[in-house]
């Protein structure tokens, strides 16, 4: 973009001359400063927030899409996206489950999703099918008692502006990368969690999400702050395959752990991957980063990724505090024509920092996946330690798995270990199981779940069970 044009944009008076009607619920496709002002205004945000968004937008304009990822997709037309729309009207939705793709319903069945949740997940127009309001209220009371703040990011911006202002963008700055900049400019959904000093969050922040999972947005922003000696376990996502009109998803998640704080963040992600040719699938570009800001703090990422047409995501840890700990446990499954480029970054800054990376990739069909891991040890990170293990399992011979480990070691006292294996699902293992009367499909599931065990055991119990079921459904028909 020419600098003069740029200048004009910056100078333009965005608070006036809206092209869109303020009363309307949707902005037409396209992105400029007016759109951002519209969003900010709709959300009732303070002035500083709008400024913050605009700053992000201006940086975004100068950036280009990362091209180094091991992915192949057509260019995205950002002017064709509508950046704000109110929830769909009841009459536009399918009126009953009969109108929903039977295949999707079959999957819900296999995953054991309760009947009353199925309709909501499939986007059917439902009046209170389940008692979500009262459930949510009970949660809120319990959390409030403990002093934990848990609300939507928009609510947090209005109700707890000091906290948000202090921490938002402190882990993932607006201009961090192309998708983070876009997210910072236009995010409309997401959550905020603050756990005060010494408080152990009285429940896993999960059930809430299962119920509200159907409303996940396109540009989500999540901010979790754990004060000194606080603890929280946060669960994102849902095992049920989710459809979404929006092809592009660009979320940002920021975690801040102060002294002796402990954050466990688990994700089960199962976006619709598209049909066999990848049509209609979701592009998932996520920036997730945790900042172990305090001494002895710990951040642990666990993720099970099965959905999306394209996934691009590297949950990372900045290990700043002395003796702080970062962990990354990941299972990524790709089938059909899915593409995944995932991995993690462990940045050792403080003394005695430790990190563990366990990554399990399973590729089937004609899918392709890459693991990309960076372990960086800064000059002050005396006695830093990392252990990395990444294993890939191939099912069939038309899929691919690639491993790209990067190490930048700036302190000679650091210990960095890396182990990697790639194996094909063993015919001998399959034969062994089958000759015991176990069907081929069950045998594959058994072997794959065994392969992922180290990661599944990091998941909260109920999620682990669902994750196994999910894997089985994802790999259905992968063999034979």
């Amino acid at each position: 973009m020419a600098s003069q044009e740029m200048e004009e944009l910056v100078q333009r008076e965005y608070t006036q001359g809206f092209v869109t009607d303020i009363e309307s619920d949707t902005v037409p496709p396209g992105l400029d400063e007016n759109t951002i002002a519209f969003i900010s205004n709709k959300k009732g945000e303070p002035e500083w927030m709008l400024e913050w968004r605009l700053e992000a937008y201006r940086q975004w304009l100068t950036m280009t899409t990362p091209s180094w990822a091991h992915l192949d997709y057509p260019p995205i037309d950002y002017q064709a996206i509508s950046y704000y729309s109110a929830p769909k009207k009841q009459e536009d939705k399918p009126q009953s489950l009969d109108e929903v793709d039977p295949k999707l319903l079959e999957t819900y069945e296999k995953l054991g999703i309760p009947l009353h949740e199925r309709a909501a997940l499939a986007g059917v127009a439902v009046d209170a099918v389940f008692d979500s309001v009262s459930v949510t209220t009970t949660f809120k009371e319990k959390l409030a008692e403990a002093g934990v703040i848990f609300c939507s990011i928009s609510e947090a911006i209005r109700e707890y502006p000091e906290l948000v202002r202090q921490y938002l963008g402190s882990v993932v700055p607006q201009g961090d990368n192309y998708f983070a900049a876009l997210n910072s400019a236009v995010f409309t959904d997401g959550s905020f969690v603050y756990v005060p000093e010494g408080v152990e969050c009285p429940m896993e922040l999960s059930t809430y999400f299962r119920i509200n999972a159907a409303n996940t947005g396109q540009f989500e922003r999540t901010l979790i702050v754990c004060d000194k000696r606080a603890q929280v376990s946060y669960l994102e996502g849902c095992t049920a395959p989710q459809r979404d009109e929006n092809q592009l998803h660009a979320a940002v998640v920021e975690l801040v752990a102060l002294e002796d704080a402990n954050i466990k963040y688990s994700t089960v992600q199962n976006w619709y991957p598209g049909d066999e040719d990848g049509k209609g699938g979701i592009y998932n570009f996520v920036t997730k980063r945790g900042d172990c800001r305090g001494d002895r703090s710990k951040i642990s990422w666990t993720q099970v990724e099965t959905g999306s047409a394209i996934t691009w995501k590297y949950p990372s840890c900045m290990l700043r505090g002395k003796d702080s700990v970062g962990e990354f446990y990941s299972v990524a499954v790709t089938n059909g024509r899915q593409q995944a480029d995932t991995g993690t970054k462990m940045i050792h800054i403080g003394e005695g920092t430790r990190s563990t990376i366990i990554s399990k990739g399973i590729a089937a069909g004609r899918s392709d996946q890459a693991y990309r891991g960076l372990v960086k040890v800064g000059p002050r990170a005396k006695n830093a330690r990392n252990f990395t293990q990444c294993d890939s399992l191939l099912i069939g011979d038309r899929c691919g798995a690639h491993t790209f480990p990067y190490q930048e070691i700036g302190n000679s006292s650091a210990t960095v270990e890396h182990e990697a294996t790639t194996s094909k699902i063993g015919e001998d293992q399959l034969f062994y199981c089958q000759s015991r009367g176990i069907s081929e499909e069950d045998a594959v599931n058994m072997i794959v779940n065994g392969f992922c065990k180290d990661v599944f055991q990091e998941l909260p119990m109920e999620f682990a069970v669902e994750a196994e079921a999910l894997l089985n459904v994802t790999l259905e028909g992968a063999v034979g």
Partner: protein
């Protein structure tokens, strides 16, 4: 129970079994002996249904059914169980989990309920102590890090739990120390009954001292060239295979 009729099998273009005939009746224990490379393991693999073997002619019937048309797991569910010479390791899959899945597959195929957990644990614990195995084997991944002898015991443990109609054992005696040999033999002997047949591949007469066979066959170059009772094994032990070859050539 098992009838193998004029079986010809080709592996990667070369013929390994060349017109093999074998009949095993319920209640019988058969020992299959013969020089290395004769086709003993090939025969048991073909019966179990392993991929990569092309049956060019002949038949294999199990209780009158054509085995060659059945899937691997269907054969297992029909009551055939192969004890492997080299049991494969399956990381992350608990031994007990495999056992339970296998047992339940059988029960479901018979139209029964899955086995209740307490009943299953009782059954497994009994057999485990019979095989003089430690409880920790149940919680370990299938065969992972098991010693050679432990793997063999584990194969027999599966047989004791799954109670097949036809148990095939490929060199179950190799790699066993003297005590383990006894335990394994006792395990196999406890399987013997009027309705069950056992087909053992072995190189050593020793095993047959513990498990006395009804029939002994000598497999040479893809064919059974001589059959006899347990004394044949003693004779082979003393004289080797040379004379059998000469006799069959004559």
């Amino acid at each position: 129970m098992l009838e193998v009729k004029d079986l010809h099998v080709t592996v990667e273009g070369s013929e390994i079994l060349k017109g093999l005939n074998l009949t095993v009746n319920p209640g019988e224990v058969h020992a299959l002996m013969g020089p290395n490379g004769a086709g003993k393991s090939t025969l048991s693999a073909v019966i179990a249904g392993k991929d990569g073997y092309e049956v060019t002619s002949g038949e294999v019937l199990f209780e009158g059914k054509n085995l060659l048309e059945m899937e691997i797991e269907e054969r297992a569910l029909a009551g055939i169980l192969l004890g492997f010479q080299y049991p494969v390791e399956i990381p992350g899959v608990k031994n007990i989990y495999l056992l339970k899945a296998a047992l339940n597959a059988q029960r479901v195929a018979r139209g029964e309920e899955e086995i209740p957990a307490p009943e299953f644990m009782k059954l497994v614990r009994e057999q485990l102590s019979f095989m003089k195995m430690d409880g920790s084997f149940l919680q370990r991944a299938v065969n992972e890090g098991f010693s050679g002898g432990e793997k063999k015991r584990n194969e027999i443990l599966q047989m004791l739990v799954l109670q097949p109609k036809l148990a095939m054992l490929d060199e179950i005696d190799s790699g066993l120390d003297i005590d383990a040999m006894k335990v394994v033999a006792e395990g196999i002997n406890s399987l013997r009954n009027a309705d069950r047949a056992i087909l053992m591949v072995t190189h050593y007469e020793r095993l047959l001292e513990h498990i006395v066979p009804d029939r002994v066959h000598v497999l040479v170059d893809g064919r059974i060239v001589k059959s006899g009772d347990k004394n044949l094994a003693n004779e082979l032990e003393a004289r080797g295979y040379e004379w059998v070859l000469e006799e069959s050539a004559a």
